[in-house]
């Protein structure tokens, strides 16, 4: 099916986790605490008046919590989503206790679904209110979707390759998979990889109007219920989460605490119409089959599977069908979703990877799969194993 790489791929481990999410902020310990608590952050929207919007729930990052995570200068200069990215990526690097040196071998991979729409809206509104004189040269750079990566790279001194990927539902998964590929391929020795999104009132209202958020025009109550019979759409969250991926030998040599090993990370696609998720459509080039095959594992080795299911009935059903086809009865355990805790946002993929890494670091055996599928057919598979 596939070629062999023409150069030896390096082993990749997870050595740090950093997160600023609706349940808390910090390193691996903060994520572990949020997962252990199991409480959902989803609640009625606080940051703006949802008014007569058909959706009224979200998982929001507390403003006071965010304010304490960046210094005053950054708080003044940076847009809110940039502050989220800087804070969480910094937490990840601190969690890994990694000194990037001159940063030339440190990479950054960021996934986002929506980018900095607040700035885009503010920039355009300035023009509509005051004409040419209302255009702010300070805001404009934020409207480019890689602005979060740009400021995070400056804060981390990441001078290696940095990349921003844009994708619905699985933006963070894709960024982590990219980060693993960068390290495995020798293009960076360490990569801070994850995702970020923030709640933006105009975006929220339009998505609700378009009936793509719970309750999606149904009569059942609004809420995030992935894979449940009464699932009726995602609930938006916000935040940023990153993991630090390092070349294994270098990590061990510096005495890093290794949470887990990335045994494989691939992405694939199923060519279907944009925004659709046809549950009967199968994947001929499955990323899941590929990572398992490349790692020499079969589905029975999987102790855990985190899925992208976020309550969108089409995505949930498709994910179950695809995983069923790839894993069969041996891997038939229902995928877990973190969307009910943190809400759907670009940081969720890295939260899943972080959660899987933490679970493996406490387990005695097994491997974990972090699976992603989005409407439109983009698919990811990240296979993690215990740190040997």
């Amino acid at each position: 099916m596939h070629q062999e790489p023409q150069h030896a791929l390096r082993r990749v481990v997870v050595t740090g986790i950093g997160t600023v999410n609706a349940l808390g902020a910090g390193g691996a310990a903060a994520l572990a605490a949020a997962l252990a608590d199991g409480r959902s952050a989803i609640a009625p929207v606080r940051s703006f008046d949802a008014g007569d919007s058909p959706s009224k729930l979200a998982a929001e990052v507390d403003e006071a919590r965010l304010a304490g995570l960046v210094d005053g200068d950054a708080a003044r200069r940076l847009s809110r989503i940039c502050r989220l990215a800087v804070a969480a990526s910094g937490q990840a690097l601190a969690d890994a206790r990694l000194d990037p040196g001159d940063g030339a071998r440190l990479g950054l991979a960021i996934g986002t679904e929506h980018g900095d729409f607040r700035s885009s809206e503010a920039f355009a509104a300035g023009y509509l209110r005051r004409g040419v004189g209302g255009l702010s040269p300070m805001i404009f750079p934020n409207t480019v979707m890689n602005s979060m990566g740009a400021v995070a790279a400056i804060a981390l001194r990441a001078r290696g390759p940095t990349i921003t990927v844009n994708q619905a539902t699985i933006a963070g998964d894709l960024a982590v998979a990219h980060g693993a590929a960068m390290v495995a391929g020798g293009r960076a020795d360490a990569v801070v990889a994850g995702g970020v999104d923030e709640l933006c009132a105009p975006v929220y209202r339009r998505l609700a109007e378009m009936r793509v958020l719970s309750p999606m025009g149904t009569a059942s109550p609004e809420g995030c219920r992935p894979f449940a019979p009464d699932h009726n759409g995602p609930v938006i969250g916000e935040g940023a989460t990153f993991v630090v991926l390092e070349e294994r030998e270098a990590a061990l040599a510096r005495g890093a605490a290794v949470h887990a090993e990335i045994l494989g990370a691939r992405w694939s696609s199923i060519p279907v119409a944009p925004h659709t998720a046809p549950a009967r459509r199968r994947d001929r080039g499955s990323a899941v089959s590929r990572v398992l095959g490349e790692a020499g594992l079969d589905a029975a080795a999987l102790a855990l599977c985190y899925g992208a299911g976020n309550g969108d009935p089409a995505v949930d059903d498709w994910e179950l069908a695809l995983l069923g086809a790839d894993l069969g009865a041996a891997g038939a355990a229902a995928p877990r979703s973190l969307a009910p805790l943190f809400g759907q946002h670009g940081g969720l993929g890295a939260l899943r990877v972080g959660a899987a890494a933490l679970a493996l670091s406490r387990a005695q055996c097994g491997a974990a799969l972090v699976h992603g599928i989005a409407r439109g057919g983009c698919r990811t598979a990240i296979l993690l194993g215990r740190a040997a």
Partner: protein, 398 residues
């Protein structure tokens, strides 16, 4: 290491549809920067840009109900696939990497303008379904039946070059033998207004490397390449346009909008690309520069080129003087220009260049294309956020 070759090219540019049309315009030194027709420019410092002509848009063969950027991307990618003569089975395995920034923002802005000004809901809200950059890749993947890994990379003005670098990496890493890669951006109000607000636009067509340069000109385009493992391409008898010998990707980590004052990230990108390619600066005859026409970019890029090549060590020209800065498309469009320069032994000129800045100690090929044997060339792309991508392209020698 696996060799990566280019077996398909497709372009929609301000000269019109088609890769050959692009090269004809570029090599003739025709500047395509004209008064803007797509958006209202009243009161702006600059009122010109390089738009894809309306008559060319009408002949793309893509539904006019699609977002303008999707139409550009579909037409260019279709041409690249036809040029590569891939079978449906091969398409089914091909990766897709799209560099994009503006997405379907042009149509999204029309919705926002209308609702804001009237205070009433607008049916244009449907345009929001295509507003995000990743929707280009969804559309291309679906319409062209590309079934390999798919992704959308947003690296500002280096996006198109980054797409090529990422596609080449996937082939070298053994992920896929074929990748359809490129960039696209249509003109948008936010982009035009933003660069005006930053006072980075020249009221006249841009003059990269000229002592009197006053800024850049915006353009729009789509350019896609089919990259292929050379063994795969040769086995199916593919025609080869050139070889992607290496790529270097770095970050300044210095400032969001200003490049590092010593060109640190640019130099490292060029050096990494040359190292991956296994060539030295003396093996390179031509650099298709990022060359925006802003005072700062051109001065620092020239400094970086001097650090890598020494003064006058290589021919340098800027395609942006002819077709404007096509944003996310620029990197792949200029890679196509570089491949044509190699194939034709003709270096495209820097238009509007009358007096080269003394701080630019290079022959910047003013106004007229220059016949020159080019075996190996660089294409530089640098973007907001200190993102630097350099590609090394070479004549394919079998």
């Amino acid at each position: 290491m696996t060799r990566v070759v280019v077996t398909g090219l497709g372009v929609v540019s301000p000269y019109g549809a088609g890769a050959k049309t692009f090269w004809t315009g570029l090599s003739s030194g025709t500047c395509a920067i004209r008064p803007v027709s797509l958006i209202d420019t009243e009161g702006f410092r600059s009122r010109i840009a390089a738009e894809v002509p309306a008559e060319a848009m009408a002949t793309l063969g893509v539904s006019t109900r699609r977002a303008r950027a999707d139409r550009l991307a579909l037409a260019a990618a279709q041409e690249a696939l036809a040029d590569a003569a891939l079978t449906s089975r091969e398409r089914g395995r091909a990766a897709l990497v799209v560099g994009a920034v503006g997405g379907g923002m042009l149509e999204g802005e029309e919705w926002y303008w209308e609702e804001t000004r009237t205070g009433r809901p607008s049916p244009r809200i449907k345009s929001l379904r295509s507003i995000l950059p990743f929707t280009h890749a969804e559309t291309l993947g679906w319409k062209l039946r590309l079934g390999g890994p798919r992704e959308t990379v947003v690296m500002a003005c280096a996006s198109g070059a980054a797409a090529i670098a990422l596609g080449a990496e996937m082939i070298r890493d053994g992920v896929t033998p074929i990748a359809v890669v490129g960039g696209v951006d249509a003109l948008t109000r936010i982009c035009f207004m933003g660069f005006n607000a930053l006072k980075l636009l020249d009221p006249e067509p841009c003059r990269p490397f000229d002592r009197q340069r006053r800024g850049m000109s915006i353009g729009e385009a789509a350019a896609f390449l089919v990259l292929e493992d050379v063994a795969h391409g040769q086995a199916r008898g593919a025609r080869v346009h050139g070889e992607v010998l290496g790529a270097g990707t770095t970050t300044d980590a210095h400032h969001v909008t200003s490049p590092h004052p010593e060109g640190d990230g640019m130099v490292r990108a060029m050096e990494l690309a040359l190292a991956e390619a296994g060539v030295t600066p003396r093996d390179v005859q031509y650099v298709n520069a990022h060359g925006t026409g802003t005072v700062q970019n051109d001065r620092i890029e020239a400094l970086a080129l001097r650090r890598v090549f020494g003064e006058g060590g290589v021919l340098v020209s800027s395609s942006k003087s002819l077709v404007g800065h096509t944003m996310a498309a620029a990197g792949s469009l200029e890679a196509a220009a570089t491949l044509f320069a190699i194939q034709n032994g003709l270096v495209p000129p820097t238009a509007n260049l009358h007096e080269t800045d003394p701080e630019v100690p290079f022959d910047c090929v003013p106004r007229l294309a220059r016949p020159a044997p080019v075996e190996c060339a660089l294409s530089n792309s640098f973007g907001f956020g200190g993102q630097n991508v350099t590609l090394v392209l070479r004549r394919f020698a079998g």
